[in-house]
Symmetry: C2
DNA sequence: CAACGACGTGGGAGCGCTCCCATCAGGGGG
DNA sequence: CCCCCTGATGGGAGCGCTCCCACGTCGTTG
């Protein structure tokens, strides 16, 4: 199958193309004689490298070198070119650069649509913010790709093949997702947000989810809680397993005996949190604290607690993860483990851009610390 | 001044470029002899139009026509080309297309960073979702640009000049923003989300903010509320003025006398909402309902009401705007006016792509309806 | 039955860059 | 005093595509 879009764009094209300025004036005449540049009223019809070269009295190669910051240009020449560039308002044509240099100065950020709904909403916005900031500094473009179906996912692979991006950032990858490996096979640098398993072969940036669980439990233990339950995320995601692992580690370190009855699986949704909480209350009515693996689930849990007549924090203490706006707005405000989301985004971008040698042998990983934000819920 | 990026990228470049597959094998040999294509192990080194043409036994032009869905190709030839495309796994090189066709198949979505923080957080994600969905259908790429400073804004204008995008979507534009006009001057199609004033000269998609205010007030009046106050957004934004206008219209229609003491200015933040609410309570202690121009401000107002000992909804009824997750999580859940955010995004994209003739003369506008979502807060 | 559109088709001419080789000055060593 | 090396520079050769003109081939007309 050929890609769908291109095949169907055809006919209407001509009508849509931005008309060249010259066409309007010289209509009928082919506009490719000598000096299209200096001719009549400036504006529009962007100057080319060649024109800059002519104006500066140098060759194309030299202008290119200046534009690209090559050191092998005399200071004097550089200045002359810079002036010409300024005078003409020259901006290099990106398409031409990409074609000639096989490099696009663009990076794709891929977000599975389904996740975007589940996750504490601001998560991706924060991530985007971090990525965007770092890319902007490096003068790279951010191509955002929301993937909402298998079909779109395949189309995305087409884009990769079409060499539209220099690298890919992958958010929220599930344990069985082959995409990261596929991208690497295409020879395109990748960095993921989070990982698929403990031993992730693809470069990634993650937050210390184990530490998050541990910190939450330690805090609850410190407040004298004895029967600490947890609402987990979907256990096919490493992030959920890690937080659960942290919870268990925290309990062990505090000398609490493990009790699987205190563990209920959620799915990162409010409803999931509510359901899990109900089941926990049924199984272990005596629980006095809950670590929810996300703020949204904590909100659901909170609702379930309220409907069961339990007070927060008097009867049951509650801790979430994400430190999202929801946490602040809850009543009482929710204690939560903050992840440095924006910083993760920045780090991902930096890894992608900077660590040039991102090859299969050395897999850069980075795990950023989390931080407990204490509020009224415990 | 020459653009910063290009001028400073120089030296490091070579190291970062993706190595061509051949280099690894034939290292030392120039890799540009005749048939790079059919040579050794397939994979990588994407096939070109020319190779597809050869394989299908037709000319380049014909393949191009097939790829672009031109009707002037015989069914038989089309099939032959399609087969060759499939066999070779051909994907057109985007850079080449852009260069030759001066058309990029990419659209920029510009979001002022400052706003991204203020607005009910999910707003932009929803917007992005809509835009993304529609663009994906048209096989266009979404270039997300968060603009966080004057400098970045200028850099963005450079990108426009570099012809990186076929069109621009602008979110959350303030009343005095010259950017939309600037972009039009560059001859690039633009569609804004929201408008800068009642008579907006640039194409836009907005939601019915006046209707939103009116609906909220009508609902409160219907519930028997007599002294209905409002917390507005920043009045330099049309959206805030429109909602205020709707509030006034609603009161007038219900035969209530206007009372400026019942109007307090917020700024779309929680703190702003809280402060405004406090001032309202001070000025008009007898108020029995509040229309907050955003859910986040409603949350702030709710806090202020609680600290003043007023119950919601018994003493004071509360209505917000956005129908964000916050609304659902509040206690009691907040009645709110929903805007079709995702639909706005879709509409914007459609306008940009479809309405080819977006010229100064005909300014397409679209105002989408809002909808009151009744919950416990009134 | 010749002339003439219409339809398919091939392929030249760029699009505006980057690469890289050839070239040209100078300057120091043999 | 000549040669070779280094640093700067010019410009040819593409990158892979779209446009568009020119060229058959038929099926129709007068």
């Amino acid at each position: 199958m050929a890609p769908r879009g291109p095949l169907s764009t055809g006919t209407a094209r001509t009508a849509c193309r931005r008309a060249r300025p010259t066409e309007a004036l010289v209509s009928g005449t082919r506009s490719d004689e000598g000096s299209t540049a200096t001719v009549n009223g400036r504006q529009n019809s962007r100057p080319t490298l060649e024109q800059v070269a002519a104006r500066a009295g140098v060759g194309r190669g030299t202008v290119s070198r200046v534009i690209n910051g090559s050191p092998r240009v005399s200071e004097q020449t550089r200045a002359a070119v810079a002036r010409a560039v300024a005078e003409l308002g020259y901006v290099p044509n990106q398409a031409a650069r990409a074609l000639a240099g096989s490099r696009t100065d663009a990076v794709a950020l891929v977000i599975p649509e389904a996740e975007a709904r589940l996750f504490a909403e601001p998560y991706f916005l924060d991530l985007i913010r971090g990525v965007s900031a770092e890319l902007a500094e490096a003068d790279k473009q951010l191509l955002l790709t929301l993937v909402r179906s298998e079909q779109e996912r395949q189309r995305f692979e087409q884009y990769l093949a079409a060499q539209r991006v220099d690298g890919v950032l992958l958010a929220s990858v599930h344990g069985d997702d082959p995409l990261p490996d596929r991208i690497r096979e295409l020879g395109i640098p990748v960095v993921m947000n989070g990982r698929r398993s403990e031993a992730e072969p693809v470069p990634y940036v993650d937050s210390d989810n184990i530490g998050a669980g541990r910190a939450a439990v330690a805090h609850l233990v410190g407040r004298g809680r004895q029967r600490i339950a947890t609402v987990t995320g979907p256990l096919d995601m490493y992030v959920a397993r890690a937080r659960l692992g942290g919870y268990r580690a925290g309990l062990a370190e505090a000398g609490h005996a493990p009790d699987e009855g205190l563990v209920a699986a959620g799915d990162f949704t409010e409803d999931g949190g509510r359901a899990a909480m109900r089941s926990l209350l049924e199984r272990r009515p005596g629980l006095d604290a809950v670590f929810a693996a996300s703020d949204v689930m904590a909100a659901g849990a909170r609702a379930a607690l309220r409907e069961a007549g339990r007070r927060v924090p008097e009867d049951v203490a509650l801790v979430g993860v994400d430190d999202s706006p929801v946490a602040r707005l809850m009543d009482p405000p929710l204690t939560s483990v903050r992840q440095p989301i924006e910083e993760m985004g920045r780090t991902m971008a930096r890894m992608l851009l900077g660590d040039a040698g991102v090859t299969p042998e050395d897999t850069p990983k980075r795990v950023l610390p989390t931080e407990l934000v204490v509020r009224g819920s415990c």
